[in-house]
Symmetry: C2
Subunit: 252 residues, 2 copies
Amino acid sequence: MTGRISIIGLGPGNILQLTPQATQVLAQVTDLVGYGPYVQRVEAPASVIRHSSDNREELARARHALEMAQAGRHVGVVSGGDAGVFGMASAVFEAVQSGPPEWRRLDIEVIPGVSAVLAAAARLGAPLGGDFCVISLSDNLKPWPLVLRRLQLAAQAEFVIALYNPRSKARPWQLAEALKYVQQYAPLKAPVAFARAIGRPDEAVRLSTLAEANAEWADMSTLVLIGCAASHLIERPNAQPWFYTSRKVEAV
Amino acid sequence: MTGRISIIGLGPGNILQLTPQATQVLAQVTDLVGYGPYVQRVEAPASVIRHSSDNREELARARHALEMAQAGRHVGVVSGGDAGVFGMASAVFEAVQSGPPEWRRLDIEVIPGVSAVLAAAARLGAPLGGDFCVISLSDNLKPWPLVLRRLQLAAQAEFVIALYNPRSKARPWQLAEALKYVQQYAPLKAPVAFARAIGRPDEAVRLSTLAEANAEWADMSTLVLIGCAASHLIERPNAQPWFYTSRKVEAV
């Protein structure tokens, strides 16, 4: 019997943003593996075994999934948003690369999902209308000076910058330093959005500018979007402004 | 009567990757607006009026949608993938900003979708496992020197680089120049993927390295993914290698 791994993006959290492909595959798995809140989110028959683990246990969790697949199970490895964007997909392939050769024979598929950055952008207007980049502000897996260097180069490239993992209890200071750093390289009047838990009942949006953005407005469920020179806020009567980035950049 | 605009991402093309939210909204619209192939792709009741237009007509198309919404229609503006990523969302808000004040009172919503880059990444493994950027190689709306500058800075930032619109009949030379340019700043052995029409019946994948990638392998339906120093190909028996990027970057 040959096992299988399906790495599944669950989308932002609203069931209407979970793809039918993900729903179909979730109905076939024998086991679910992932960070607790994501595993709990899945509706599955009672026969499905749920293996929840803590955050930051990605590699151990991936190896566990691969061992179960090798034993013939069909393991669903779940992430919020899209599993390929700071989710479990990379951890699974990292485990394969460093694991026994048999794991390379396993049937591993990745089912894409609506990522947090796409959901946040849709909620705000069209902030990703031009070229953009996506950076995790966590320095658990890369040195902080590299994060700063990437922020500088991204701002110099006039990318819109989407920041994942901007702030947590264990990493309270990075976002304030990052914002201050980007202020040196991007326009101070560029719009900045704090998009929290988009697609979930407790969603919240706060708009500001790079000059005035306050890191205290973010928590671990927030995505921060920093605009560029081509980004605009469109004021509206009795409603939050729309945040969009022009597709067009004039020659200077 | 107040009109409404729903800007909808149709996903990569496979109906199983269209979100239930998009399906629900598509069932409510009175009119569909978009580039011909996307408008034709939508299953809709006969009463829905389809307004197809050519590529590169985004702004005129957006204004037409806004005029119809102002006249009380519920207009679905459709894009492939996610409408916020080189799709129609930015054009609609650009039209709002430069249009009559009444347009700011319209109910405009954006329904996110699975973008082409997420679908391509899922098909390949986990190439977006670290920080990444997304660049349109088209110089219809921005100067070519800016595209090259962004490529340079992105490579120096060690981002994985996803290229939309790499090549068309009207723009046959940009990709070859871009690849040659990036070779100066990114590792020559970095994996490069040409992912064509992912999620559609004619999908095709070609893997190479930055040193050997050939622009002739791309057409207007191709997404090109250029890896970084943290990207790897995992060889497999009797199957295409997996392309993934490590989440971890060591301090140098």
